[in-house]
Symmetry: C2
Subunit: 380 residues, 2 copies
């Protein structure tokens, strides 16, 4: 058995994801589909609309064979770390091909990645522009292209990670279909995840945009978790903790700890707080990640220590996925986690466990301890 | 002008407090009434039903001349520190007499305090009984009395503090009237503060038990703040923070940090958490204080540093109180704070400021920064 790998958030699983899945199977001659999926928080640092178990189940119900969790230290990161982490796990899972959507799958990403090596500098120290802006000015000059769309940026990052990690796997950027990632309106058969979440929050029907299983799962969602819910917790910690402790958290540096502390003491709503912290230096996504790591009290040291020892936390499989796992397990160079005991919780999985404990305030469900993989029968 | 001092929480100001005030004036020939009042959190470590400004205003509207805040490091403490701190401030305010209610005002508290010096030990190291139980076993043996009622315990503590601090002021325990502190039912003209808060929470009328001004203020209360509201914040910090940091907080020691962390990871409601932490060693009041200091992230070092430099934060006065303040101010040995600027906020008042920032989540009102004393015209 050979496997094709996908990287996903599935927040939530919608028709566009299903199309992507079908294409991946078609491209590879119906290989086993292995998905590396983010846990309870998105790349932007926001709580997912459904927890990782519900989302893994939907993926399995819709044709995925094996779902592995992308640990928080890879999942809640800028594109280059997100992509590098995901590819590292897929390679460990003995995947041969990786398929992902891009806005411009026809671009020669290999050449773009090579162009980056000729940048005059990759350390961007200007404080009045985001990293992305400064990066694109350099890229434009050398190649005539700019990476402005999220899936193009990921496609670039996958190619870069493949080269850097010398990975023996085939990358297949394919045309992304349907609504723009940024679209917030629900519009037709292929809507964005953002539009679907907004529709759920507003109580609108989303049946046309998602498989029936997703519609059923979302029907149970009484409240879409947001940073408005998390802000009272963040605000208090920012006010009470000494600024030198705040400065130790991952993604919090360069004085951001002072900005956040000051904004927390002045603002009672998340929207006001977020506006007060924003500067030209940081994107909102970058800030949301800093807020999340602060709320999770994860220090640079803790995150880096765990990043040095990644693992494969199995969230679920069908019979085909299970057989594949059995076939590869001796070749897998990383720890495979299926059931989480207290030792796993306190050691290797500690950061994901802590993130899951925060998420538990939304749905009351224990995320890791004593939780085994979801097993479903192969879809006929 | 001479002054009589009272110590109060006024949570909220009710008819029993009014009776106490009248008695204090009568006993001292209508002296200026100076009240040292707790801030936004009670001695038991619970959020007050109204903030300190609303409660100071009600006190002034009902005959108090000057209200000074009892800082959190005195206010959220066992009786002996609470009483010692309050008397220290009243003595600094040049008060001649202190009047307080006791269940047994006829007892000879001077003798009871002297008896304590003959205890075989005042360090109680048994882990299966509270401090109070062990204390009373010793006291019973020597004097035949036990201090089991809250105001008797405070009366004992005031007398003890007077002796220890060699204070030149007269103590006047008077008969406490009306409902038992522990009564939770609203019953007649003199109801307990607990009963009144319960009635407000349940939307019952409290007009018979409180002055009209209190009834009006409580009419604005949409939700009575409780630990149920604070628990999500406490829970997350207990889960995310390293146990050695938790062990540095005031009142958290002897392994309580492990108990709390474990209970937080297992329980989603405050009631379940609190039951899980409880042991014979600690009273619930003791635990609630530990939770509050944990949520406020106040370390032993921080609390002790501030306790070494107490101050007088003036919450309000009428013209009589203002004249009295003017008369004594040169003799006052402590810093008098009337308006809170950024320097006062960050330095001397830092702990009260942080407590006020937590309370602000309930009513949205900035508690300290740029807040000046409440001034009201003398009641005709």
């Amino acid at each position: 058995m050979k496997a094709v790998g996908l990287v996903a958030e599935y927040n939530p699983f919608h028709n566009g994801h299903r199309y992507h899945l079908t294409q991946a199977k078609r491209l590879t001659g119906d290989n086993v589909v292995v998905v590396v999926m983010s846990g309870d928080f998105s790349q932007r640092g926001e709580p997912m609309i459904l927890d990782k178990w519900d989302r893994a189940k939907l993926a399995l119900q819709n044709g995925v064979d094996l779902v592995v969790e992308l640990p928080i230290f890879y999942a809640v990161q800028p594109a280059h770390i997100f992509a590098a982490g995901a590819l590292h796990l897929l390679a460990a899972l003995q995947v041969n091909d990786v398929v992902y959507g891009a806005e411009h799958p026809d671009w020669d990403f290999t050449t773009l990645v090579q162009a980056e090596r000729q940048f005059s500098s990759t350390e961007f120290h200007r404080y009045n522009a985001t990293y992305a802006t400064q990066f694109n000015m350099e890229l434009q000059q050398l190649t005539g292209h700019q990476l402005t769309e999220p899936n193009d940026i990921l496609a670039f990052s996958y190619e870069k990670a493949r080269q850097q990690q010398h990975l023996d796997l085939q990358l297949h950027p394919i045309q992304r279909v349907g609504s723009d990632y940024h679209d917030s309106q629900l519009d037709g058969h292929l809507a964005s995840a953002t539009a679907i979440r907004n529709a759920v929050e507003q109580g609108q029907t989303i049946d046309g945009a998602v498989p029936a299983s997703t519609a059923t799962a979302l029907g149970q969602v009484k409240h879409v978790p947001t940073w408005d819910d998390l802000y009272p917790l963040l605000r208090n910690h920012l006010i009470q903790a000494p600024v030198d402790l705040l400065g130790q958290y991952y993604e919090v540096a360069e004085g951001l700890e002072y900005r956040m502390k000051d904004a927390a003491s002045r603002n009672l709503t998340f929207a006001d707080f977020n506006r007060a912290v924003k500067s030209k230096r940081y994107t909102y996504a970058r800030l949301l990640r800093a807020y999340l790591y602060t709320l999770l009290e994860m220090t640079v040291d803790q995150v880096q220590a765990k990043m040095a020892h990644p693992y494969l936390h199995i969230l679920g499989f069908n019979e085909r996925g299970q057989r594949y796992l059995h076939q590869i397990k001796r070749a897998v160079p990383l720890t495979l986690i299926t059931n989480v005991n207290q030792n796993v919780r306190d050691q290797i999985l500690q950061l994901d466990y802590r993130a899951g404990k925060l998420y538990q305030m939304f749905n009351g469900v224990e995320q890791d301890l004593k939780h085994g993989p979801i097993r479903i029968a192969v879809k006929e």
